[in-house]
């Protein structure tokens, strides 16, 4: 027990002394309570986190390599390690194609077996065993009649059920839609998160400098931002796409050029307001340097507005990526992307599983993010926090 010596003025705070030293400050605890009491947002956060964590392990869920190969009494882990085909008695020095019937036969001959992930396709795997030309419908929708040819091609397969299942069908290149959806979800969220974090960092820094120094710095920067934001992003992208190769980081960079402005206004306003507060003056009187002042004293107070905006920026980023992919100016061809899936759905109306899957994935993702955003906004609402 620690000895607490009370001075007279402290008496009224007696009951608080006992509950001190907790991880979250009371205000943040209150916010967390508010967030939790917003059931829809709270559940959305859990569902989103679950889906995201799951999709981070996409390689373990959908892959064209097995988890485990028992060959010649030895264990192999193809997902994590490279094995040339020669390791399994094949002819080539290249990585084993485990879906190849020849390789499967070789392994079987040595009393080996393979343990496959839930979905035995990578997003880039082309399924050569589809019963009808791509895009082919989900395997469980085929009649025995329709998949007779495919069954015949595959050794020891007797019916449709013995084929590798394309649960949501395949796309125009005979790639599994489920696998592409999982990988597409992951790349969308990662892209969105990266873009959000990077543009927030730049936006906060720019807003902080403008708000803190004010005057000419502010005036010049504001005019610059006004001009900058009036550049039509899409056309710049079209031009750049024609010059530079397509790629994740190039796309990220180009979008970053235009998305960082979204937070500047809020942060600038917050800094303008806070910079003349007495506690900032007090810190200045202590000789605290400008950068420390901005970072330690003002920024924490500007974070509320920023955090409130973040989920919406995230959903905006995801939406931008999807739109660009849909138009064909997004990620390089062949990448698993939701926009590309939607585009295929539009071009192949006879294959509704493409459009429906794309739509539901994008809709679920955006809805979850918006719900989380709403809950965060309510949680940080000062009228709710302090009432």
């Amino acid at each position: 027990m620690e000895q607490i010596t009370q001075t007279p003025v402290l008496e009224q705070h007696k009951e608080k002394v006992e509950t001190k030293q907790e991880r979250l400050s009371p205000i943040n605890k209150r916010r967390w309570q508010n967030f939790k009491s917003h059931r829809r947002g709270y559940w959305s956060l859990w569902i989103f986190s679950f889906l995201f964590v799951l999709s981070l392990g996409a390689e373990l869920i959908a892959n064209s390599k097995p988890f485990l190969v028992s060959y010649d009494g030895k264990w192999h882990y193809p997902i994590f390690q490279f094995y040339p085909e020669t390791a399994f008695g094949g002819d080539f020095e290249t990585e084993t194609n485990y879906r190849d019937p020849e390789v499967q036969k070789l392994i079987k001959e040595k009393n080996g077996y393979m343990l496959w992930p839930l979905i035995p396709f990578h997003y880039s795997t082309i399924n050569y065993d589809v019963p009808t030309p791509a895009p082919s419908k989900p395997t469980w929708m085929y009649t025995e009649e329709e998949c007779k040819a495919a069954v015949a091609k595959k050794a020891d397969a007797k019916s449709c059920r013995d084929l590798d299942q394309n649960w949501l069908g395949t796309d125009t290149a005979a790639r599994d839609v489920t696998a592409r959806m999982i990988y597409g979800f992951r790349i969308s969220v990662i892209f969105g998160l990266t873009l959000t974090i990077l543009s927030s960092i730049i936006g906060i820094a720019a807003g902080a400098v403008q708000g803190y120094f004010g005057g000419w710095v502010d005036l010049t920067f504001q005019r610059f931002i006004e001009i900058w934001t009036s550049i039509p992003t899409l056309y710049v992208l079209l031009i750049v796409a024609a010059v530079l190769p397509q790629g994740f980081f190039i796309l990220l960079g180009i979008l970053l050029l235009f998305s960082w402005t979204s937070l500047v206004g809020v942060v600038r306003a917050e800094f303008l307001r806070t910079r003349n507060f007495e506690y900032v003056q007090a810190a200045r009187a202590l000789g605290v340097s400008n950068s420390v002042l901005m970072y330690r004293h003002i920024l924490p107070n500007a974070m509320v507005a920023t955090l409130t905006f973040m989920p919406f920026i995230l959903s905006g980023s995801v939406m931008t990526l999807t739109a660009l992919d849909y138009l064909g100016y997004g990620l390089p061809p062949g990448s698993p992307s939701l926009g590309e899936l939607l585009n295929q759905g539009r071009n192949n109306l006879q294959a509704p599983w493409l459009g429906i899957t794309g739509f539901f994935t994008v809709a679920t993702l955006l809805t979850l993010l918006i719900f989380i955003g709403e809950a965060v906004r309510d949680a940080f609402d000062p009228r709710k926090t302090f009432s």
Partner: protein
């Protein structure tokens, strides 16, 4: 005076519901106001006095409820009146004036229109008749050129004038009861004296009853017939003013009455070396007009101030708001740019760059007025206090810093065990102690105190004054004490400087200046601030 009570509050309570918990703000109070009588309710902030005033007119938010009691006005229970009828009472039978004249008037309407509206709603007066009555009212509350002022917007009036307009609004329908909730707290001392005089006159003329809510006992003594002392939602003592002041029964009332800060200023040190001096110091803000922002004139916030503070002395700077006293303090610490040489500890510091100033910063510190605004809400107390150490002794280990912060908190009378908490968990007085600790942790030699007691309750005020005095003695500090509260200045200052419109009106040793002020302005200022004392002695 008739014996029947105009307003009778019986066994009355107010509770607030907050996140499922009820807190009692007013706890079973009873008092009454007779016709033509002034009853004052005094107490510290949070004692429930304002809530009492608001609940008479049922102006409390919906989270408030009344577990017990009744409020009888002319025999009717206001708490049970239907909304329609209570609206007839508000503004007609009972009116109210609030503390903040800046926000109580609608900034978008001329004052004439705002008063006319009052007459239209309750009296059905229109056109010329209403206009005449408005002019009459404005004249009554002492607004010069009332006719021309009708079209003025609130921002064109001074604080005192705005409060007069508020009073005119409240008086428009000749109410039976007038509730004044700290009507003079936001005003300067001279204006405060005028408003109090006006209220007293009006009350005598119109014969209305007044419920006066304040934290200032001197005002109570001047204006009230009877007084209720409130503490933590309860009335601890009530009775005629003279009786209570002469013979207080409750220990809290006694403490309140004894809360006057002790007059023990630091002695003048005529032979000590100079701590800080300034010669013809100017802070001028340019007024820019036109397309090319040509400077057409200057606002002279500080205009040619020459001063010299010797080591161990306290210079008290007094003046009304807008007189430039805070600007002077900030300019001396080089927190705003100024003109004119400043010499600190024998070295000229005017014009030094921010980095070059840094070594001096540990010797010069400032404590601000508002203990709520001067502490960052997102830093723990230990972080706030040790911030200066991080700047000036960057090599110090975190443990040592923490130790020093704890020691500084102990020095200002706070429990060091509370240092990991955040500012909002502390009361106003405690926060001001934290602000003092932040200034003292670097062991400065010169401290600017910018109205350090103005935002605090009386009891806490004198505690902070005692604390500052003790620290000065212990550490041989030099203070520049800025305040509009002359009583606090008298308690601490060895020299006094009176400022008006950025210029020095008068300065000299405190003892001499308080006894025999030379200029008229100083005399008016002192009369307003000490008028109660002079009444008492005569």
């Amino acid at each position: 005076m008739s014996g029947t009570a105009l307003l009778e509050i019986k066994d009355f309570s107010v509770a607030f519901r907050q996140s499922g918990r009820e807190t009692l703000a007013v706890d079973r109070i009873s008092f009454n106001i007779k016709k033509g009588e002034t009853v004052a309710v005094v107490g510290e902030s949070g004692s429930g006095k304002s809530v009492t005033g608001l609940s008479v007119l049922r102006l409390l938010p919906t989270s408030a409820s009344h577990p017990s009691g009744e409020v009888l006005f002319q025999g009717r229970d206001l708490l049970k009146l239907p909304e329609q009828e209570i609206r007839g009472v508000r503004g007609n039978d009972i009116t109210m004036v609030f503390q903040e004249p800046m926000t109580s008037l609608n900034p978008l309407h001329p004052i004439g229109q705002q008063i006319t509206e009052m007459l239209e709603v309750h009296r059905g007066m229109h056109g010329e008749a209403a206009r005449k009555r408005v002019i009459e009212l404005l004249k009554e509350v002492g607004i010069p050129n009332a006719e021309e002022r009708l079209g003025s917007y609130p921002h064109q009036l001074s604080g005192g004038q705005r409060q007069r307009v508020m009073i005119a609004l409240a008086l428009a329908n000749e109410p039976e009861l007038f509730i004044a909730d700290e009507p003079t707290t936001a005003l300067d001392v001279t204006v405060q004296a005028q408003i109090l005089k006006l209220l007293k006159e009006l009350q005598g003329r119109l014969g209305m009853a007044m419920l006066f809510i304040t934290h200032d006992l001197n005002i109570v003594r001047k204006i009230a017939d009877r007084v209720c002392v409130m503490k933590q939602g309860k009335i601890v003592e009530q009775g005629p003013v003279e009786e209570i002041f002469k013979n207080p029964q409750h220990p809290y009332t006694k403490a309140l009455l004894a809360a006057e800060p002790k007059i023990q200023p630091a002695p003048p040190q005529p032979d000590a070396p100079s701590m800080i001096s300034a010669n013809d110091l100017k802070v001028w803000y340019p007024i820019k007009r036109g397309l090319f922002k040509k400077t057409v004139g200057h606002i002279k916030a500080v205009d040619g101030v020459t001063l010299n503070i010797r080591r161990g002395e306290t210079l008290g700077v007094v003046g009304e708001s807008g007189s430039g006293k805070t600007t002077l303090g900030l300019a001396l610490l080089r927190l705003i740019s100024s003109e004119g040489p400043i010499v600190f500890l024998g070295k000229p510091i005017q014009g030094l760059k921010f980095k070059a100033m840094r070594p001096f910063r540990r010797d010069m510190q400032i404590v601000f007025q508002d203990p709520y605004g001067s502490l960052s809400p997102r830093m723990s107390i230990t972080d706030i206090v040790s911030e200066g150490l991080r700047v000036h002794q960057p090599k110090m280990s975190p443990e040592e810093r923490d130790e020093r912060a704890a020691a500084a908190l102990k020095d200002v009378g706070l429990d060091p065990a509370t240092r990991h908490r955040y500012p909002h968990e502390f009361s106003g007085g405690q926060r001001q102690r934290i602000a003092v600790a932040r200034a003292m942790v670097l062991e400065p030699t010169f401290v600017v105190l910018d109205e350090p007691t103005s935002a605090l309750d009386m009891l806490v005020q004198s505690q902070i004054v005692d604390l500052l005095r003790d620290l000065q003695k212990k550490r041989e500090l030099t203070y520049l004490f800025i305040s509009h509260d002359l009583r606090v200045v008298a308690a601490l200052a060895s020299h006094v400087m009176v400022m008006k419109d950025g210029k020095i009106v008068e300065q000299g040793p405190a003892e001499k200046l308080f006894k025999a002020p030379v200029s008229d302005y100083t005399r008016a200022l002192f009369a307003a601030a000490f008028s109660l004392e002079t009444e008492q002695t005569s």
